[in-house]
Amino acid sequence: MTDATATTSPQNPARPAASLLQQTDRMKRRNAAEARFKAYGVAAICLSLSVLFIMLWTIFSDGLSAFRQATFSFPVTLDAERLDPNGNRQRDEMMRVTTIGYGGLLNDNLIAYLAERGIATDGVTDKEIAAFISRDTPARLRFMVLEDPSLLGQTIRFEGYATGRIDGYLKGRVTREIAELDVNVSVAQLDLADRMVEDGLLSLKFNWGFLTNPDASDQRPEASGLGVAMIGSAYMMLLVALMVLPLGVSASIYLEEFAPKNRWTDLIEVNISNLAAVPSIVYGILGLAIFINFAQFPQSSPLVGALVLTLMTLPTIIIATRAAIRAVPPSIRDAAMGVGASKMQVVFHHVLPLAAPGILTGTILGLASALGETAPLLLIGMVAFVANYPAGPLDGGILDPATALPVQVYSWASRADPAFIERSAGAIIVLLAFLLIMNIVAIVLRRRFERRW
């Protein structure tokens, strides 16, 4: 290059002189690339939001109806002759009247009430009227009377569930077209149900039973509830928190602050990271082999479930805790050490308080993932049908059979009666509510404990 051709400045020979008011081609391409990248991002977010919306929409449209239940409300005269033939109000002797006896009483009362109110029952046999009442309802009445024999002889206003098909009809799931093909329900019954609703005898009420009842058999979807599953999940979360927090935090503190850096600690670190990625069902097999087959803990018990979930959550919590401890600025450690604090004092007076929000958030998120875990629980028998509540936590309830919320979702979703599908979605709503609460608690704790330095 000779001096004569040096029209541009010598420092930037390649850059042509151009007006700032006009974009160069290169600049246009760069801006276009940036705009495209932003568009990809927005598209990705829109896609995930719409998928989330569809998921929530499906769950809520299927599941919200589980929180309402077609319920009868009519006067029942508790005929003492039928329910206590010996007339001495002895519990043992009254127990001889089975639910069949109570069922007959309920049917007679319902038929009598229909006649009294002038509700036409054309084309519906007495047996078909009896089929309106859930098989769970006589048992409930029997339990009520056995608990309080003074009710005998009185006329009480009794509320009982309708069967799943009638419940489904009121919620719009069962239609006349379906009823024509269904052996369990007839079109005439649906017509009668319409007249009962008009009269106020039958109505959709809020279904507390869905939250409190234990599971019920395939024939009685209307009586099934999440009571046992919620207790089981609560016991497990409590035990997991009690076990995982001290174990995880002390392991993290040791590894982060005290452990020498050598081949052994490297090996441990690699293993912790790998364990966090192990499929959860593997932990189920481990729990089955160790806790049930070897240690002989009872199957289906929240204790075994909690032990398995603890093992599963531990690596995640150790990783989160170590990250929180590492995020404490080294200047704070130096400061404490500089005034002569021992290693232990540095950790407990300075590092842990500053790492607490991170540790708590990690723990709660770990617990939330444990709450939603199904696979390992299937292997240790928590998918069993459990109709009895476990005892209180101090009365050995952690050894009683129980199920858990996600397992209940799974087990209901695999049953034949469509009424269980609705309940499965309802259980998902309850599970999501719990997860939401735990996440909110994590956020609140983080805000409250967060300190600036």
Partner: protein, 265 residues
């Protein structure tokens, strides 16, 4: 110049506080400090100067065994405080650090109240039997750090809410509160503005009355202003050590002269 001579004479009269002989420091394979011999005097401000990476901070951190916390660091040689070998296996570094306080480059108060910041050291060393004792120690330390008048009405407020210069003086108060005999300062003014720097420098001069102060600094003006003795480090070697006035006016070693005139570093 008479003043300077007076100071020097007075300095030379002081007894030796720290003796270092043949100190070597290795970070893994790297030989960071080579064969350092130094005598540091009591009631004197000793400045360590030198370009970045010359080993002056490394040597400072040997004096209270803060290098112990660095896994790959290895210290050899003999460092004695009042004639006692601080690397003796019977010495607990935690106890040593109560005797040798340290102030760091960046102000690093605990995220606690001003009072708790100062009271922390005395508390863990059991220096105060009663609350009144502790109150007195806190007040004295804050006075020594020339911070008392500024914070006496807000001792319960967070130490991190103070300005940079105040935070650094709070850190000095915290170091002073454990009753140390030696105060190590690792570039204590490098994160401060000129006004705060001036305050801290003034404070350092006052601290000389009670402590033996060792200060690492990048600013040669600062070394000249606050210290009586200066050590110049270069590439891990202690090049020259002597009275500050001599180092800055008539150094023996050509490297020292190059550095203080700005030709190397």
């Amino acid at each position: 110049m008479d003043d300077q001579l007076m100071t020097e004479r007075r300095v030379d009269a002081h007894e030796i506080k720290i003796t270092a002989r043949g100190v070597q420091v290795y970070y893994g394979e790297k030989h960071a400090l080579k064969d350092v011999d130094v005598d540091i005097l009591a009631n004197t401000v000793t400045a360590f100067i030198g370009p970045s990476g010359c080993g002056k901070s490394t040597f400072l951190r040997c004096l209270n065994r803060m290098n112990d916390t660095v896994a790959i660091a290895r210290v050899e040689g003999d460092i004695r405080i009042d004639g006692e070998d601080i690397y003796d296996s019977r010495v607990d570094p935690v106890q040593l650090r109560a005797k040798v306080g340290m102030v760091f480059q960046k102000p690093n108060p605990f995220p606690k109240s001003i009072y708790d910041n100062v009271a922390y050291g005395p508390k863990i060393h059991g220096l105060a039997r009663t609350k009144a004792d502790l109150d007195r120690i806190v007040e004295e330390s804050l006075r020594k750090a020339a911070l008392w008048n500024e914070v006496k009405d807000r001792l319960k407020e967070s130490g991190t809410g103070l300005s940079g210069g105040q935070q650094q003086r709070l850190c000095i108060a915290r170091a002073v509160a454990t009753g140390p005999e030696i105060l190590l300062m690792d570039e204590p003014c490098s994160a401060l503005d000129p006004i705060a720097t001036a305050q801290v420098e003034e404070l350092i001069d006052e601290l000389r009355e009670k402590f033996s102060v060792v200060i690492v600094t990048h600013s040669m003006q600062q070394a000249a202003r606050v210290s009586q003795r200066t050590a110049f480090f270069h590439l891990g070697n202690l090049v020259e050590y002597g009275n500050t006035s001599k180092i800055f006016t008539n150094p023996d070693d050509p490297r020292t002269e190059s550095y203080i005139t700005g030709r190397i570093g």
